[in-house]
Symmetry: C2
Subunit: 439 residues, 2 copies
């Protein structure tokens, strides 16, 4: 991956081809579950961008010709705020439950530093209801994320699941109501903090040793055994109404996942999982690779009670997820898990030996295209050897070779550039089988 300005990554053609493939895999997967495409303007009003009280750094816009005049809009930093604004604005035009996906870049006004992107793709799916939305959709979203990642050839991973009501219900028993949000944020960062660091932070906030030990035991609930064992343990705790509601929701989501044929082996319950974003109110989940640990979360999401919040009077609960394609795909390429050797989408290069017969070569290519093949004709005036070298450097797997005599007979040679195998073909007879021949 390259970059002209630090933090703004871009791909060379071979990597771009893989990235587009991954976007297509996601698109097809999302559409197979009935999600429709969405695309919003890259800019939003500044007041909209700030409506969730977020802490992201936002790029504002001004016109170069008039630097004193700041525009009232800036670049989006995620695809959730645009979704909220879109649903609020076009509520009457939409059909609920509204299922959409949105694969597009977002921008963060980060200071340039290693591994921090200032532009990256988000790949979001959300289901938004009008006033109510069944918990079934929480399970469907998790199911779709798992199936999509598998279709992308992602190596072994687990989905870590929690419910914010469980966490919040538990935290109520050790900190005050006002401290809950702060405590959740601490838990969200607990992976990055040492045990002592985490403890110090909680002790600072008036949590005594006994309470912290209870917290610690609670966070380690995932080590108690199978998912069923953990659920049973949580059900027995019955700390308060919120806690019980959260456990019920979690159990329900897991049951529906079973009906969706999602094997328990993919799933882990994790009480540590909080997801920093404040708008999550129920299910939360995150997906991590088992062995490529330096990648962190590759997908995550959750349930929110009211997407449109301050933007509208309508109450729109929803559940969604996002796949971090811009980090995931380059890492899979780097680890050799995705093949980025192809520098082209071309399947076949038609070489040109006699430019006087260019028309014949062009017609042959057009015939192959009609049957769905991606075919390039070498239109530059160069000897055959140079044309073959071009095919080889670009990793075009097949070339077609014919001289004027062969053209008259409507025959030619199909050469596999990898195996060097050649076969003679009679052009008019090839038809649909061209796709088989150049596979």
């Amino acid at each position: 991956m390259k970059s002209d300005i630090s933090g703004f990554p871009e791909f060379l053609p071979n990597e771009q081809i893989v990235f587009e493939w991954a976007k297509n895999v996601a698109t097809k997967s999302f559409e197979s579950y009935g999600f429709c495409p969405m695309d919003t303007a890259a800019v939003e009003r500044v007041e909209t961008l700030l409506s969730k009280g977020n802490d992201h750094e936002i790029y504002g816009l001004y016109r170069l010709t008039d630097p004193s005049e700041k525009k009232e809009f800036g670049l989006r930093f995620d695809l959730t705020v645009p979704l909220a604004r879109y649903v609020a604005k076009y509520h009457g035009d939409l059909i609920f439950p509204f299922k959409r996906y949105h694969i597009a870049p977002v921008w963060r006004g980060e200071r340039p530093q290693y591994g921090r992107y200032r532009q990256f793709y988000q790949c979001d799916i959300d289901v938004v209801g009008d006033e109510a939305l069944s918990l079934n959709y929480d399970a469907e979203i998790i199911c779709i994320i798992i199936k999509t990642l598998k279709k992308m050839g992602v190596p072994p991973f687990h989905v870590y699941i929690n419910n914010r009501k469980i966490l919040s219900g538990f935290l109520k028993t050790i900190v005050s109501e006002q401290q809950i949000v702060g405590a959740m944020r601490l838990l969200d960062k607990s992976d990055k903090l040492s045990f002592e660091g985490l403890k110090a932070q909680f002790l600072q906030n008036g949590v005594d040793d006994a309470k912290f030990e209870r917290l610690q035991n609670f966070l380690n609930v995932d080590q108690r055994g199978s998912i069923a064992t953990i659920i049973d343990y949580l059900k027995d705790l019955r700390l308060n109404d919120e806690f019980v509601a959260g456990v019920n929701e979690l159990e329900n989501v897991l049951q529906i996942l079973k009906q969706l044929d999602i094997n328990d082996n993919y799933l882990r319950i994790s009480m540590k999982l909080a997801r920093g974003l404040d708008y999550y109110t129920g299910s939360v989940f995150e997906t991590k690779l088992d062995n490529v640990l330096d990648l962190g979360s590759i997908a995550g999401g959750g349930r929110y009670d009211n997407l449109t919040g301050l933007l509208s009077d309508h109450v729109c609960p929803g559940v969604g997820a996002s796949i971090g394609l811009s980090r995931l795909i380059p890492k899979l390429i780097e680890k050799g898990l995705l093949d980025a050797s192809k520098h082209t989408t071309t399947q076949l290069l038609v070489t040109v030996q006699q430019s006087a017969h260019l028309g014949a070569y062009l017609r042959i290519a057009e015939q192959f295209r009609k049957f769905g093949a991606n075919v390039e004709v070498y239109l530059h005036d160069k000897p055959l050897a140079a044309q073959l070298k071009y095919a080889s450097r670009k990793h075009i797997k097949y070339v077609f070779i014919a001289n004027d005599v062969e053209l008259l007979d409507e025959i030619g040679i199909l050469r596999n550039m990898e195996t060097k195998e050649q076969q003679k073909i009679h052009i008019p007879s090839v038809g649909n089988s061209i796709l088989e021949l150049i596979k």
Copy 2:
């Protein structure tokens, strides 16, 4: 089409589905000719954006948290400058001729006004050579644009072709060397000027009546008859070397277009066509709908001698074109030429009558998906009538209906929501034929 901030258009789902379809048509068409995908960061250095001395209004960026600090970069206003920068920067990594397409938004710091977009999609293809590039590619680009527009179902159109060398060669005979660029810009706007307006402008610049009459005759060359007649007429003129070179290039491009099986009926020679952008140096062309005249040019492009210009020591000639999707598609929808009635990509809705059997419904949907169908399960707890209404409002063509008894027998009803026709299906036997059944 809707808009939250004036000039930043966005689609409702039914229109977005059509727009994505059009992007896919372009993508497949470009790839079938061996073009590879490209995607660059949305921002470029301000110095890069200004390198072509352009007159577009550019959006600069600043961080909201630090309004005094202007970033050294801004949003791209086209996809050609990013291509030039990309080719200059990664020259050693690319294989030439470099054929790429790029479908992505660009931004213009326009003052908001009717019909002017501040964000819109460009849909570009270019072939870039290293030091040299055959004229054959000029013809290929025109051919691809024609075929792509036809695949999009665009109503009758013509491609207007010219060559800047012809125009420049002619203008040399009536204005000074220094006035040529200005004169070309005038011609480029001649459609918008009255005859008197155009004449006044030229007379102001020292062109006398006799010379202006010659210009006028020259501009009307397209009324002389067939393409062959016009070419013959131009060949006889032999005004100067540049003019002759231009006529030869134009003739060559037209000959190759014939070999590419492009019917003359699609093509028109137009001496009025200049294409305002200064970097064009040879072939120029523009595509206009015959009957939807208020749309102006829907695609255009041309040949440039040196793409990378000030950005690199390499000389990279190229030829490219751009389709104005953001204007074209909404207009085709508005005129009823593209069908935007579908509010969904879902082909089949599986209705749920007994939530106790949710697993069975989910498995049926999953089975249909395996054979390539886009299937939604209605996961919200609502009566069947509400589910059918949802399918109907969303224009989902087929619904699957089964009660618990039918589920046990692995049968169900497939209802066509448009014709109300119903057929009983045995689920395990359906297999691959599901795609036929719900077509």
